[in-house]
Amino acid sequence: MIALLVLALVAPLAAAAMSGVPRGGLARASGWLVVAACAVAFVAIAAAGPGVHGAVRWLVVGGVELTLGLETTPLSFVVALVVAGVAALVIAYATAYMREERRYATYFVWMGIFVGGMLGLVLASSLVLFVLFWEAVGVASFVLIGFDYAEPRARRAARNALLVTRCADAGLLLAWILAAVHVHTTEIGALTAAAQSGALPATTAATLAALLLIAALGKSAQLPFSIWLPDAMVASTPVSALLHAATMVVAGVFLVLRLFPLFEAAPALRALLAITGGATALTAALVATAQANFKRVLAWSTVSQIGEMMFGTGLGASFGATEHLAAHAAFKATLFLAAGVLERLAATRDLAGLQGVARPRRWTAAALVIGALALAGVPPLAGFWGEDEILAHAAATNPALGVLVVVLVALGGTYVSRAVATTLRPPPREGEEPLPRAMVIPMAALAMAALVGGLARTPLDLLFEATAMPAPIGWRVALVAAGVAGLAWGSTSAVLRGSVPALGSWPGVIERLVEMPAFALARTALASARIVARIEQALDGAARSLVAGARSAARVVDGTEGVLDAAARDLAVGARDLAALVRKGEDRGISDGVDAIAGLLARGSSVLRHAETGKIYVYTMSLFVWVALATAFILVMRR
């Protein structure tokens, strides 16, 4: 069983490694190789089923046991299947989308690495592996965002994404060490058990929850870390679809869901989670209505939807958040793939330029419509059920929160229908070439998943053993009505007024407000750097005056030196005369004597040289004689 999980983890990584090797014609196959690996991973995880756990102890250091292992809790089982499935479809799409890319094989190498890392993150049962793969997907995201490194915007976006997520990752790095020290092992199951049973002191749980919250917020581009995701839309569409909609950005939500018992043990942090989630969701939804670029709409939509998931988790609707995670992956990926198709057809991402592009294309239009309906939470499509659950918990906690959810759904409908309706708006633009099959089929498959995904609800129910709490009928009707109303508003706005922001341009201001904290931080750093430069100049001047003083002192010393010099010269003349005297004496007496000794040695050596005849038998003979004499001597002595 555990071997299947290992296979699922290793297959994409192996495909990535193998893709990097071939050159030329074989490189074209690298994309399908990674797709096949994702399919293999999907099948392996499905075959392994939930409830597999295999961990091995790696090191014991300082009282903490470091483990390595994989497991499938119900949560990670579902998320892993979602990751593998969406990855397979999106990468299949990418094989056609990236056809003109020069570094084709490299792209899929990094895609493979990303999928492997993401699956590892989801399937990890040990904090060591979790953190490792968290970082790995961060690196893969950086590379893939900045894949077209000649473009300065891409470089900047990649750098910003990495920096922001790195700052937030500090939370995770601190948290895992703290957790390992307290629980004495790195198994996540042990940590959650300790939190649930109350074995962790309250302050520790709160600290851990806070640190993990920071990390989750960063990775999932929630406030205040939101600025990197919209800028990351400069990446290619498959990357946006896979990383920044369906899988990586939900890693933050996954983290929170996995370690939810920690949040349960620290109610203050749980409330904070809900607050940040809700605030982000609302802000992002508003900003999304004012975007002029199709992918940016989808980016802010992603931020908003994840905020909703965090909000729901904070209120206790873990099951609903999970459902919504899976559904979101399906419909958001559909929308992104469709956006890629539109970009292919119209060579632009701006809504103004995309008017009417989708109208003559049956499959693309259908995908767009289905995705939009799912996002707006129209039953019985996939998006409805998760939002229903979240609404139920929200309304049960506080009616105002229920209203918030309804408003969010309305806004969701607005921005998505504005975008989609623009593309469907007459007059239709006739397209030239047919779309490649590899792009249409995955898109259609994901749209189908978004359409009928709601049917998976019952098996999921059984899997999680969760009691689904459907919302009271009144709230439900309000939800659906809000969704439909939003859809209507947005589409009419798009059709009648073109690509003008649906609610006016004031949400754009909010966007700038969101970016401000990051700019403030940068400005402070710049100002402090200038101050440091000024201090350095001051120190420089001080050093220089010191040097000038030293130089004048040296001149004084020079003068005294001249006097001493003359005295020494007189001394030297006297010593030289003495030496001449000594040498005369030495010549007579000493050197003659030494010469005599040297002569004696030379004569002696020439006599001894005759013993070195160079003949081996002489040496051998003398050796034996010598040994015999020595033996006899010893024997006599011992007597």
Binding site: Y617, M621, F624, V625
Partner: protein, 235 residues
């Protein structure tokens, strides 16, 4: 299994004689090839003595390594030298009785025969210096006799008194030796293996053909050795 004492003594005498006579023949015969064969006989004798001493493994090793290995090597080298058969040498020299005994049948002594070793190592025969021995032969002979007489005399006059037989050696001695080799003396064992490897490398490396052509004769080398040393430098 016990051998009868009389048989033991007889066997000992026979094989001891083979060993000593074989070694003597090796040292004195005029023919290098015969030397090799006599050495083979001496090895056989010693191997049989090992068997008498109940060191079975060692006697087998003696046969395999010395006879199967080294002796073959020696014979190869002998065949590379000039006059391995020794007939030319035997014809040119007059030999002592011992040497004549071991060099029987090589060739007839010719009228040009000079006493062996008389020329101080430069036994010239038809312009070639031709001798089996070095000029130190006289000394070696005396010394060898002295050593043999002194040691044998010491052993005969004062036999080793502390020799006691506590027990018969284990008939499963090879297993014991194997245990020791693999256990207590593992380092020595491995070291010997390493040494053999180095020896093989060294031998092969040394015997490679060189890039420079070999000189035809020793004349120039001789001249360089005999030339007076250069005057010492000034300063």
């Amino acid at each position: 299994m016990e051998i009868a004492p009389a048989l033991q003594i007889v066997l000992f005498a026979v094989f001891a004689a083979i060993s000593v006579l074989g070694a003597l023949g090796m040292a004195t015969t005029m023919s290098m090839f015969r030397s090799g064969v006599f050495l083979m006989a001496s090895f056989f004798g010693v191997a049989a003595l090992f068997l008498l001493l109940l060191a079975d493994l060692l006697s087998l090793l003696q046969v395999m390594m010395y006879l199967g290995g080294m002796l073959v090597m020696i014979l190869f080298m002998v065949l590379f030298s000039s006059d391995p058969g020794g007939s030319m040498m035997a014809g040119m020299m007059t030999m002592t009785r011992v040497e004549k005994a071991f060099s029987r049948g090589l060739s007839r002594p010719s009228p040009m025969a000079t006493p062996h070793g008389a020329g101080g190592g430069m036994d010239m025969a038809a312009g070639h210096d031709m001798s089996m021995t070095t000029p130190a032969r006289k000394w070696a002979r005396h010394f060898g006799w002295a050593v043999a007489v002194v040691l044998s005399g010491a052993l005969v006059l004062r036999p080793v008194a502390r020799a006691t037989e506590r027990a018969l050696p284990d008939p499963r001695s090879p297993e014991r030796i194997g245990d020791l080799l693999m256990g207590k003396y593992m380092i020595a064992f491995e070291g010997a293996g390493l040494l053999i490897l180095l020896g093989i490398f060294g031998a092969v490396l040394l015997a490679r053909p060189s890039e420079r052509p070999d000189p035809e004769d020793r004349g120039h080398l001789r001249a360089a050795v005999d030339a007076p040393p250069p005057p010492p430098e000034e300063g």
